[in-house]
């Protein structure tokens, strides 16, 4: 399984990378754009906590619309889109295969972004569905389905056409994530968002909606985004330390655990739901945490035996990502226990975990991926290395402040809430506000990092387009979907 660690071969990647050059720039460029927009939204929401009158005269930017708009922009615009980009690239690299139909990938990406844009605007216009992570209104969903049909389809066909038949662990994770997403997305949005609109079938009634939603959120987090992130980690960490993954079987074991238990973890028991939901979820969360420990151990041993001891920037991104993911898995398992969940259930701890996962684990992984992949794919180096150090520092500090304050504050908030002697105003004053202040500072840093990142990626995009236009001397390149212009070298090893 480790045989196809691509670093070993003297394989010529130019052709493969080139087939993906423009699609990846498109995907990554859009993804960082959504990251910027999402973090700005969430900063606005955060500021509103300090000044109730701030921007209050417009219904589009009230706290209750900014928060879900930020979440959806970051989950669908940034995290998923970035994950698609990274998964496609790894599929091509590990399978030593050219991207199929890059033109359709362009269309898919454009549709996806259109869908997210419509969805986010719909939320702001007050058409949110009210279900967590599925707030986007029903009319945005057809675009997303069509887009995913193209993106996911291209990824699966590319996977199928791979030259290297043997599978590396990352490919298991990628395949499962790509396959899992359309299922849960269509099932949950059909049951929760679309069917109530049409009134044809009986909509899901009462709290069954919350169970379906929780199932979707867990599957999206642990399996779709989680597997994408884990695929990146298990692909890049061994590459960066120039050593094979310690033990592929450990990784497959964790894969199985996550696949079986990942779709129902992290649901804190609520008395409005059937009681088995909370208990079952506590068990699932424990298994997920165990799987994460296995993966972290596997990667840690890989690193320890590796050649590179001095951590480059890329490796630092990877460690932050791994650390955050592991921390979230452990904290989720801890918070799901009956006793702790009584304390933490409705506190700031819950958003703390959510953002640590999205920014700390997924975000760090994707930023590291962008940092390492884009120069390879485009053939251009980052102009401003120093800015990347700033991006890393700002993002890391921002995430620590932002989610750390919510996690620590959540403990206090929760403990104050379960003691009825603290009046609610007291809870507000000493259990919520001080921590929100710190987390707002963290968000500001994240916005700065996102802005710098966006700028750097845009510069890279422009340089690549210009470079290509100059060297090829024609704009027919762009029209042709950015792939056909490349001299179709047939040096892909045919070893089927």
């Amino acid at each position: 399984m480790e045989a196809n660690q691509s670093s070993k071969s003297t394989f010529d990647w130019t052709d493969i990378d080139a087939s993906y050059r423009f699609p990846t720039l498109f995907l990554a460029g859009k993804a960082v754009g959504w990251l910027l927009l999402g973090t700005i939204f969430s900063l606005i929401a955060s500021i509103k906590m300090h000044a109730p009158g701030f921007l209050s005269s417009c219904s589009w930017v009230t706290y209750g619309t900014m928060m879900p708009a930020a979440l959806n922009a970051i989950v669908y615009g940034f995290a998923l889109q970035g994950a698609f980009a990274a998964m496609l690239w790894m599929t091509m690299r590990l399978g030593q295969v050219r991207l199929v139909a890059p033109g359709f990938l362009f269309i898919g990406t454009a549709l996806w972004n259109l869908g997210v844009l419509i969805g986010v605007l719909g939320i702001m216009a007050g058409h949110s569905s009210g279900h967590a992570y599925l707030e986007m209104p029903g009319y945005a969903l057809p675009f997303l389905f069509a887009a995913y049909g193209l993106i996911g389809g291209i990824a699966l066909v590319t996977f199928h056409k791979r030259q290297v038949r043997e599978l590396y662990p990352s490919q298991w994770f990628i395949f499962a994530a790509l396959y899992w997403f359309p299922w849960i997305f269509s099932a949950a949005s059909y049951l929760l968002v679309i069917s109530p609109l049409r009134q044809v079938v009986q909509p899901v009634r009462g709290v069954a909606q919350s169970v379906v939603d929780a199932w979707y959120v867990s599957g999206l987090n642990v399996i779709v985004l989680g597997f994408a992130g884990l695929a990146i980690l298990q692909y890049l960490i061994p590459k960066l330390v120039k050593r094979d993954l310690h033990n592929a079987y450990l990784s497959l074991f964790a894969f199985w655990m996550l696949l079986l238990f990942g779709s129902f973890s992290g649901i804190l028991s609520s008395q409005a739901l059937p009681s088995w939901v909370g208990s079952l979820s506590a068990v699932c969360s424990a298994f997920v945490a165990f799987a994460w420990l296995v993966i972290a151990y596997n990667l840690f041993v890989t690193f320890r035996g590796g050649a590179t001891k001095s951590a480059g920037l890329g490796l630092r991104f990877m460690y932050c990502s791994l650390g955050s993911g592991l921390l979230v898995a452990l904290l989720t398992a801890w918070a799901s226990q009956e006793a702790t969940s009584q304390v933490l259930q409705f506190s700031l701890f819950v958003p703390g975990l959510k953002w640590l996962y999205l920014h700390g684990f997924v975000g760090m992984g994707l930023l590291g991926g962008i940092y390492l992949f884009l120069p390879k794919v485009t053939g251009n180096d980052w102009k401003a290395q120093g800015q990347w150090t700033i991006i890393f520092m700002a993002y890391a500090t921002g995430v620590i402040l932002f989610s750390g304050a919510l996690l620590v504050g959540g403990w206090k908030h929760g403990n104050m809430l379960i003691n009825a002697e603290n009046s609610f105003v007291e809870v507000l004053r000493s259990g919520i506000l001080p921590f929100i202040r710190i987390s707002t500072a963290g968000e500001l840093l994240i916005v700065i990092a996102a802005l710098l990142l966006w700028w750097n990626v845009m510069v890279m995009v422009c340089r690549t387009y210009c470079g290509c236009l100059l060297s090829m001397g024609g704009c027919g390149i762009l029209a042709a979907g950015g792939s056909k212009q490349l001299p179709s070298k047939t040096n892909v090893k045919k070893k089927s």
């Binding site: 509103k48 906590m49 109730p52 009158g53 209050s56 005269s57 417009c58 219904s59 009230t62 706290y63 209750g64 619309t65 928060m67 879900p68 007050g126 058409h127 949110s128 009210g130 279900h131 996977f159 038949r165 043997e166 599978l167 395949f175 499962a176 396959y179 899992w180 099932a187 049951l191 929760l192 109530p196 899901v204 009634r205 009462g206 709290v207 069954a208 909606q209 919350s210 169970v211 379906v212 199932w215 696949l259 079986l260 779709s263 129902f264 609520s270 008395q271 409005a272 739901l273 059937p274 409705f346 700031l348 819950v350 908030h413 809430l417 009825a420 609610f424 105003v425 507000l428 919520i432």
Partner: protein, 296 residues
């Protein structure tokens, strides 16, 4: 079989398992719930909300109130109050039984309890104590009722008389349980804050009624307009910093009124089978204690 097919089949299997267990099963369990008659309130529960309140829920959803407010009350357990409802004819026997039931009573207190029934014998006791006392009074001619009192910080805060159960949300589309308490729980806010004017002021700007609140203001639900012939009857009574310019007044839009209707419709003041509690009808006749008789 090649690796790709194994992978495909295993992922497919896991998916089917997850779908069946976590989506189909809850559907089967919860999908058949229907309204039922609650005898304490003498009607079907839950009832669909009226038209305006229904419209108000849309505004609640659109404004994203759910990101700060939950609508679910937790309860950590029960306590019972034991009440002598009828002393019966055998006063001496009952007096001795009462003193056995609560050994800390003085003879005078015991006599007062028996003489003035209905009176409370014991407060805040557990299930085993209830069983013991009910057993004592068996065949004594006296009647003892055990009133259930739900416990927990949410209930102590007055956020609701009992825990919420699935039944409470039967007609909610979407269900807005919420996951964060930046603000208080709202599932029973309609019986806690009954003043329409308060709600309107609070929505216009929370600082008009609650200093230091971090709830956003919703001025877009209101209209500031010129006073024409005389002040409108529904104009907000705004003072100080919040008062509109001279000759102007702030009136709620239909949306604001619908939202307040919805808030006022949020009530769980009735026991249900899954979450019983000692229910007192606060309006109406004098002998209004409809207790939960402990089934023998």
């Amino acid at each position: 079989m090649n690796q790709g097919s194994i992978l495909f089949l295993s992922v497919f299997g896991a998916m089917a398992l997850s779908w069946g267990g976590f989506v189909m099963l809850p559907q089967v369990q919860l999908g058949s719930q229907s309204t039922r008659v609650v005898k304490e309130i003498g009607r079907h529960y839950p009832a669909e909300r009226g038209g305006l309140a229904e419209r108000g829920r849309d505004i609640y959803r659109a404004a994203g109130c759910v990101s700060c407010h939950t609508q679910q009350v937790r309860q950590s357990g029960y306590e019972f109050d034991l009440v002598l409802t009828k002393a019966g004819d055998f006063t001496e026997l009952v007096t001795s039984l009462v003193s056995q039931a609560n050994t800390s009573l003085t003879p005078q207190e015991t006599a007062a309890i028996v003489g003035n029934a209905p009176t409370t014998i014991l407060e805040g006791v557990g299930k085993s104590e209830v069983d013991r006392v009910l057993h004592l009074f068996k065949d004594s001619g006296a009647k003892v009722a055990a009133n259930i009192r739900p416990l927990g910080p949410d209930i102590e805060r007055g956020w609701g008389p009992r825990q919420t159960v699935g039944l409470d949300y039967l007609f909610d589309q979407p269900v807005l349980l919420g996951s964060q308490r930046i603000g208080p729980d709202l599932v029973d806010v309609g019986s806690r804050l009954t003043d329409r004017k308060w709600h309107l002021l609070h929505l216009y700007h929370p600082h008009t009624v609650q200093e230091g609140s971090i709830m956003p203001a919703y001025p877009y639900l209101f209209e500031t307009k010129k006073i024409l012939s005389g002040p409108s009857s529904d104009a907000l009574a705004l003072e100080g910093d919040f008062s509109p310019p001279e000759g102007m007044e702030v009136v709620p839009t239909p949306e604001a009124n619908a939202l307040v209707d919805y808030l006022l419709s949020l009530r769980i003041q009735n026991p249900v089978f899954e979450a019983p509690y000692m229910f007192t009808q606060d309006q109406g006749s004098d002998d209004n204690n409809s207790q939960m008789e402990q089934p023998e």
